[in-house]
């Protein structure tokens, strides 16, 4: 298990945050995803097998930009 912090740009409403959350949770291996609109950040708890690219793609799918993954 690992914790990943994703900085996201372009969110400006609550439904944006809930869309990203939904999309991240669909990635197989993701246990928990919580998106903070206020901090423009997603906190993801996932299996070690989940790659950075998969998570980035999940965010991009909903139409938002990833600025950094930690």
């Amino acid at each position: 298990m690992k914790k990943v912090k994703i900085l996201i740009e372009g969110m400006h409403c609550a439904s944006c945050a809930s869309n990203i959350e939904r999309s991240l949770k669909k990635v197989s291996g993701v246990k928990e995803a919580s998106v903070s609109l206020m901090l423009k950040k997603a906190m993801v708890e996932a299996e070690d097998t989940v790659t950075k690219e998969e998570l980035e793609k999940a965010v991009a799918r909903t139409g938002y930009r990833v600025t950094r993954v930690e």
Partner: protein, 650 residues
């Protein structure tokens, strides 16, 4: 030379967002004001400035950049949402404005009335609303941003006899930092030379400066007051106290408050429902009235009035403002859930040592049948081999340069110590130990009783089965413990003190603090079980230092971990106090309650707004522009209301 900007503080994301909305806002209105003027003159004063087909062309031309250039991000995001089924707020606005704009194109055919001016105005108001909201959100996070900016940028390092100024990133553990009066302490460390007082209020909330001398730890980002200090670096970068605090606050932002769950659920299905509702409304109006233009107008109103934002922002903004306020006072919320649970808490359990008391026992009374000096010498020689805080107190009091040689030393857990000095068998400990060793203590009993009645812990010193004397050690209660507990009683909380001390000592301390319920003789590992028993009568908060009571903190419904300086048991509590004062705990309880009230207010307004506004729009009672203004105001009001939390004096 490093390039400029590399070590500049990262500009907070809010700023660029606010700037971008501001530009879009200004440009949108430059084009929208003429449109508004045309519409107002035409509709209200019946003055036609430009004749018919041309006026539509002018409005379409002016409106195009507003909707499709300055509003491009909204349109693009919204359309993408529609096509990928990740509907969002923008989907509603995009659809509303595009439909309205397109009516302008079709109006030439005479099929529909021209709504294109409305499209520009909706986008302009939407942009304005977003700008104001972004600003208010920026204000909501101001304390946390200040925390991020608190860290020092540069550091003066001693290399041999030379002072070298280096960027903070290059400082390494073990470096010696020179800190002059008035300077910020660059990073965490331990004082090796000098004396000063340090203002730690920015990270612990403690308002009085703390005296620092050799051996004391200092926290990065605090301000050195009047002396010069040489500090050995112990922690850098993400390991520092400040970094931990920031991380904690950020993580807490990501956690959810249970009450938000319903709102989140609604938000996730909100947009598709509104889309469906808008289509139904449009069809209904069109079929029933046969007025296509009117039906389009009403449909657009429904699209733009619905506001999932207010619902989604209700909790996070209040949490943001509240946790920022807390951080400023040395109160760190680790879990949003604790804020909601706190209002159910009826009983507050306090650990004694280090929570109600200072946790630093000191020798207060000595009764000796030999010289006091000899008694302390014997006691300290044995006790310096023990790590127990009470042992430390005796060693400190004796202040010996050399200890006597002790052989066959043994620690008897919970009872005392024993060993040999020369040929003499020494036993130091409580009554129980004396009884075990069959030592007659009758002549010291009056002294023991007086001291125990005052809440002091007594140690009997015996040599070759004969009592030499006794030493009383007390852990004084913290200055504000009584005040804090009084405060909690006034608010109707039941308070309980839990301790490993004997009944008598425990009662005496509890009396001083104002607590009536005491659970004494509890071994550290039993504390969690006692908490569980108390939970049968309702929700329980446990306040402890998190060092030996971590299981109890976890067991309780709300665990409040108290720390002093850099030693905070971050993992142990739901709420962590950077300052070791019980008033901090009281503040954290009050702040939790205030935040929760704000969250409830916000959710109420957000729900109320949507349940009133949407039916009005469906009924065709709201013009699309009025609908858009109402929508913008609803999310602004939620964020502004969260900011009002600051007015609460906690």
């Amino acid at each position: 030379m490093k390039s400029r900007g590399e070590h500049d503080p990262v500009s907070p994301p809010e700023d660029s967002e606010i700037r971008s909305w501001k530009w879009r806002l200004i440009l949108s209105w430059i084009f929208t004001i003429p449109i508004a003027a045309l519409m107002i003159f035409e509709r209200i004063f019946d003055i036609v400035l430009i004749d018919m087909p041309y006026s539509v062309i002018v409005i379409l031309a002016l409106g195009f950049p507003v909707v499709f250039i300055f509003g491009w991000e909204t349109i693009r995001g919204g359309l993408r949402g529609l096509f990928t089924a990740y509907f969002n707020m923008d989907s509603l606005i995009a659809l509303g404005t595009i439909i309205a704009y397109v009516t302008g194109l079709f109006s030439f055919s005479g099929l529909v009335q021209d709504y294109s001016g409305v499209a520009a105005m909706i986008m302009a108001f939407f942009t304005t609303g977003k700008y104001v909201e972004a600003k208010a959100r920026g204000r909501a996070s101001q304390e946390i941003r200040k925390l991020l900016e608190l860290g020092a940028k540069k550091c003066t390092i001693l290399r041999g006899n030379k002072e070298v100024e280096i960027p903070i990133e290059e400082v390494k553990v073990g470096d010696l930092m020179l800190i002059k009066p008035g300077e910020k302490i660059p990073t965490d460390g331990i004082v090796v030379k000098g004396e000063s007082s340090v203002d730690e209020s920015m990270v612990t909330g403690e308002s009085l400066p703390i005296d620092k001398m050799k051996g004391h730890t200092v926290i990065g980002a605090t301000i050195n007051q009047d002396g010069t200090l040489v500090v050995k670096v112990t922690k850098v970068g993400s390991e520092t106290f400040l970094a931990h605090i920031i991380q904690l606050v950020e993580e807490a932002q990501g956690t959810k408050v249970p009450i938000q769950k319903l709102a989140d659920k609604i938000t996730s299905v909100f947009v598709p429902i509104i889309l469906a509702l808008a289509v139904l409304t449009f069809l209904n109006w069109w079929l029933l009235s046969g007025d296509l233009s009117r039906a389009i107008g009403v449909g657009v109103s429904v699209l733009v009035i619905a506001c999932p934002c207010a619902l989604g922002l209700a909790t996070p903004t209040a949490l943001m403002v509240g946790s920022g306020m807390g951080a400023k006072r040395g109160i760190l919320f680790r879990k949003g859930e604790a804020i909601q649970t706190m209002k159910e808490v009826k009983t507050i359990i306090f650990d004694k040592t280090g929570t109600i008391t200072q946790g630093k026992p000191q020798v207060t009374n000595i009764k000796s049948f030999i010289s006091e000096k000899s008694l302390l010498e014997i006691a300290a020689s044995l006790e310096h081999l023990s790590e127990h805080p009470i042992a430390r107190a005796i060693v400190n009091r004796a202040a010996l340069r050399r200890f006597a040689n002790v052989t066959s030393f043994k620690i008897l857990r919970g009872r005392g110590v024993e060993g040999k000095i020369g040929r003499n068998a020494i036993v130091i400990g409580n009554r129980l130990l004396m009884k075990e060793r069959k030592i007659n203590i009758s002549k010291i009993i009056p002294f023991l009783e007086i001291c125990e009645g005052e809440g002091k812990t007594t140690l009997i010193v015996a040599r070759d089965k004969k009592v030499l004397g006794a030493i009383a050690v007390a852990d004084a209660i913290k200055e504000d413990s009584q005040q804090a507990i009084n405060f909690l009683h006034q608010q109707g909380y039941r308070t309980v003190m839990i301790t490993g001390d004997n009944e008598k000592t425990a009662r005496a301390i509890a009396r001083q603090a104002g607590i009536t319920e005491v659970i004494a003789n509890v071994l550290p590992e039993e504390k969690a079980k006692k908490v569980e028993e108390l939970q049968k009568h309702g929700m329980v908060a446990f306040i402890g230092d998190g060092i030996n009571d971590a299981p109890a903190l976890k067991q309780s419904n709300v665990g409040i971990a108290m720390g002093t300086g850099t030693d905070i048991a971050i993992e142990a509590g739901d709420i962590v106090l950077a300052r070791g004062s019980l008033m901090g705990a009281v503040q954290s309880i009050a702040l939790s309650k205030a935040i929760f009230v704000k969250i409830k207010q916000n959710l109420f307004w957000a729900f109320a707004y949507n349940t009133v506004a949407i039916p009005l729009a469906v009924a065709g009672l709201l013009h699309p522009i009025i609908a858009e203004i109402a929508m913008a105001l609803s999310s602004i009001s939620v964020v502004s209301n969260a900011n009002l939390l600051r007015r609460k004096m906690i």
